[in-house]
């Protein structure tokens, strides 16, 4: 795996006229996982989008080493396509091997759903499919926005296990969630502490 590092210095985020948080600094090195907690609308998703480089920071800097994998509320799978075709597109884009993609689909229980059009999938099934896309990408930095939303008990445990394995392999996970996320060595950051 590539080098993995995230360093955030004095970060501030503004949505419209409102500053959501300011003065946020943190550093994550290979193998570390951090949960960003906080109530709805406090800026968890905005923080992840800034770290991903998809949104501009109002102030402060973000340094990254390694490519970024993002799972948010949008699955980035074509609703009109069958799940198998939609996942195969990302596998081709990311250069995932057939056998690895197959193993991931089996593990996440997606094999029986491959013929189903994405628009017929439930929230939890889409979330699992997005996780399969993320694993196939083989990016060292994982940004997970509410990864447990809509998942059943079994899938929650599976997701936690997959994230723990990713960190054990030298990856970094930044998890934004208001739900408890149980993996060993998980650091916690309460975003409300940085409210202006």
């Amino acid at each position: 795996m590539q080098e993995a590092k995230i360093a955030i210095r004095d970060l501030a985020c503004r949505r419209g006229d409102r500053v959501l948080f300011r003065g946020l600094s943190l550093a994550l090195n290979a193998g570390e996982a951090l949960q960003v907690a906080g109530s709805n609308g406090i800026g968890k998703s905005s923080l992840l989008r800034i770290v991903a480089g998809l949104a501009p920071a109002f102030a402060g800097t973000v340094e990254r080493e390694g490519t970024i994998g993002l799972v948010d509320e949008r699955s980035a799978l074509d609703t009109s396509q069958a799940l198998g075709d939609a996942l195969a597109f990302w596998a081709r884009t990311d250069g995932t091997s057939q056998s690895a993609a197959q193993a991931t689909r089996d593990r996440l229980g997606l094999t029986d759903l491959l013929d189903v059009p994405v628009r017929y999938l439930s929230t939890g099934q889409k979330k699992r499919a997005a996780l399969a896309r993320l694993i196939g990408q083989a990016a060292p930095l994982w940004l997970l926005d509410e990864p447990l939303n809509g998942l059943d008990v079994h899938a929650i445990e599976l997701t936690e296990a997959i994230v723990a394995e990713h960190c054990a392999g030298g990856g970094i996970a930044l998890v934004a969630s208001h739900q408890p996320f149980r993996i060993e060595g998980l650091q916690r950051l309460t975003l409300a502490d940085f409210a202006p």
Binding site: G53, L54, D72, D85, R92
Partner: protein
């Protein structure tokens, strides 16, 4: 990188040419043929008049048919998060838009040129006129595709974006229409050359304007 571009083109063609619920390439072609079929009913069975004006009708029908798939071109990929995922992988918006223009053209340009054959028969066009119309469409439809994708990117996410996109495309497509249909009247190569030139300008602008629009929509 080449593998990624081919994967992207294959996916775009699966969506635009074969189409999911939108009907793919079939809807613009059927629309185009219905206009060619309705025109003789409206103006009457005056063969010389049909033969003289038919080429222009084909051009107007082709322009309007190109507007039909606009809502499927860019907006779903912004809404579903594909553009964000491409950006994270270092695949630029410009590249995606350029591939999208190619896929959009393949899904309506050649099908319309094929549909022009039965349309020409319905309107009683002569072989020479048909040849100029086909060459004109070959020169003009890439420009219409580039224009369609650009405007679709500019209006993505706006309320009533599809209707607005249609209204924006029509005035900007006027140069292609004038040169393309105009080449019928003068029967010459200069009209075709000007159509192709207008197309090339639009093709050159589309990836950059469309890419910037997608980034702006991200906000």
């Amino acid at each position: 990188m080449t593998g990624r571009v081919f994967a992207l083109l294959k996916r775009d063609l699966a969506r635009l040419l074969l189409g999911g619920r939108g009907g793919g390439a079939l809807m613009p072609v059927l629309f185009f043929l219905s206009v060619a079929m309705l025109y003789p009913f409206a103006v009457g069975p005056d063969a010389p008049l049909l033969a003289r004006t038919g080429g222009g009708v084909i051009w107007v029908a082709a322009l309007l048919a190109a507007i039909l798939p606009l809502d499927r071109l860019v907006e779903p990929d912004i809404e579903q998060g594909q553009f964000d995922q491409w950006a994270l992988r270092g695949i630029s918006e410009e590249l995606v838009i350029a591939v999208r223009v190619l896929a959009h053209w393949l899904s309506f340009g050649p099908p319309l040129m094929l549909a022009t054959l039965p349309a020409a028969a319905l309107l009683g066009l002569e072989a020479g006129t048909l040849g100029i119309v086909e060459l004109g469409l070959l020169a003009g439809t890439p420009g219409l595709a580039a224009l369609g994708v650009t405007v679709a990117a500019l209006t993505a996410g706006l309320r009533g974006g599809t209707a607005l996109a249609g209204l924006l495309v029509i005035p900007m497509a006027v140069p292609i229409l004038i040169f393309g249909a105009g080449s019928l009247a003068i029967g010459g190569e200069s009209g075709l050359a000007l159509t192709a030139a207008a197309s090339l300008v639009l093709l050159a602008i589309a990836p950059f304007a469309g890419g910037a629009a997608v980034r702006a929509a991200r906000g």
